[in-house]
Symmetry: C2
Subunit: 334 residues, 2 copies
């Protein structure tokens, strides 16, 4: 039984809850024997959803909570007052060691605030970091930090680099991940005060494969596996990625409907195009882990489908099996 991975899934979080969340959880337990799911939320609603499926009943347990945190609620107040919400209850189970990980498609703010306050940081970690995988021409890159803690210091960024490197190597399977710092030029002397201060510190880290500055233009090319930046810049990168791709795709679709000729062409290229765009969809690569906590917390998109929930659950399994937190601790002690 020691190999069982217990994952709490927020049954009420996200635009497609509870249907897609439950569907994803069911798919995960059917596919992986070692997964035990704890589903938090309104039990009548969740049980009704579960009734639609055949699955090993003993591997999904509903944990009833009487409250739900809405996306628009101010996070700090929500975490403080809604003790019996699907988010707080889930995080509490991770804190008490009753679960290894928590996955939520709910309020990003509440998950980030709650995770730090309830689960707590690994000893030695100054600040946890939200690290989504973003698509590139070559595959995926970990963007760390995109979280809610802005105005970072250089020591935070060094820890982000180490945690990101451990994650990419052990969860995604990239050997000696290339680590770059987001900068406005390739030279070491370029950058703002934070980057200039962080650059030499990263260079000194013998446990990192630090390749230097990376310009934003080159991120989609996949020039490195771990892209380090402070949260404000990370947030801009993540959201602009989505925004530019969405605007461009909408423009392209529009252009294909311009004439009869292009409409016929569109029909013919559609299947190939769809596959490509899917690979370039930020939401296709599972949720974003919040690294540096005593347990694992994964934030998936608000618009998560069953597939993304399922992928996020597998991420948690890999995280646990590979002892990521133990490995992070080793690197932090260095």
């Amino acid at each position: 039984m020691s190999d069982v991975v217990r994952i709490v899934v927020d049954g009420m979080g996200g635009d497609n809850a509870p249907s897609e969340i439950v569907k994803g959880a069911v798919a995960a337990v059917k596919d992986h024997d070692e997964i035990q799911i704890l589903l938090t939320g309104y039990q009548d609603v969740l049980k009704k959803e579960l009734e639609q499926y055949t699955y090993p009943k003993d591997r999904i347990q509903v944990i009833h909570t009487s409250q739900v945190i809405e996306t628009a609620e101010p996070p700090v107040a929500a975490i403080r007052t809604k003790k019996d919400s699907s988010i707080v209850a889930g995080l509490m189970m991770v804190r008490r060691g009753e679960a290894d990980a928590f996955v939520s498609a709910g309020s990003t703010g509440a998950v980030l605030v709650g995770a730090q306050a309830i689960v707590g940081r690994i000893k030695g970690i100054e600040r946890p970091a939200l690290a989504p995988l973003i698509p590139t021409k070559e595959g995926v890159t970990l963007l760390i930090d995109c979280g809610a803690n802005v105005d970072a210091r250089s020591s935070h960024l060094v820890q982000f680099a180490k945690m990101g490197s451990v994650y990419m190597e052990n969860v995604i399977g990239v050997k000696r991940p290339k680590v770059g710092i987001v900068n406005i030029g390739a030279e070491e002397e370029k950058g703002n005060a934070l980057v200039k201060e962080t650059f030499p510190l990263l260079k000194e880290c013998k446990d990192l494969n630090f390749i230097g500055s990376v310009e934003a233009r080159d991120i989609p090319e996949g020039v490195c596996d771990v892209v380090v930046c402070e949260a404000f810049v990370g947030n801009v990168i993540l959201k602009l990625y989505e925004g530019v791709a969405a605007a461009l795709i909408s423009k392209i679709k529009g252009s294909m409907l311009e004439s009869f000729r292009s409409k016929i062409g569109a029909l013919l290229v559609k299947p190939a195009l769809k596959r490509t765009l899917k690979k370039f969809d930020v939401s296709e690569h599972g949720g974003a882990p919040l690294l540096g906590l005593k347990g694992l917390v994964v934030k998936t998109h608000g618009s998560s489908t069953a597939k993304e929930v399922e992928n996020s659950i597998y991420q948690c399994v890999q995280f646990k099996k590979q002892n990521i937190n133990e490995k992070i601790m080793e690197h932090i002690q260095v």
Copy 2:
């Protein structure tokens, strides 16, 4: 003769110099009677290029310089030592009032450093800002600042907003331009220290149509006409815009060659697709003005073609005719 606009064009700057630069200058004088071009660089090279064209000879004058600043040269040293370069000579002419504007596709660093050191700031302007136009679903948006001066203060950002607003209203012709500040959430209380400090200052500006925070995701949607941010973030936005679009387009092109079916489709959609992608190309919208200087300096892409050079020259004409600097001064005194 008072209506003549005298523009110095760096004949040696950029990947396609001198041929595309000269071609663009010739097209501009042929199309607009009031333009007088002063072309700086090696006179034998430039004159040979000019010989290929028929154009009103008295409207393009070659100003011989014996030096050229290369892109890789450290900007400060280059400006200091290469006094007889096409960039320094051009900027000196603007400083002495012999020209109204300077256009260069050469070293961004050298142009930015040189412009500030040689042309100088408008009285009251704390810092000039580089402000490219970026494509959106709706048209174009001015992104200010993308320059080389990082770690800005809130008072700088307020001036950027005012200068950007004047530019969009008078050069691009947008009535009451909507001004937004780049932020990591829509609410006023979100953001890093700089944004939190700047937000209330922008709200107080009665001469601005300030719409509040804009998330990076919404910039390509065209939600505002002037996007205000400090240079590091602006640089990331500008370069990621180019990077995501380029990676996505390359992926799409690749996908269309996957099968016979999609290849036929690709042939049919190609013309429509090409038009769309052109509209979404950052380089299609002329150069980036460096606002806040006593004269106008426009930096065009290193890869500028004749069309972009020509468009940049027209930008200068509009800038002069609309008395942009006088208007900026009015707003700064407020």
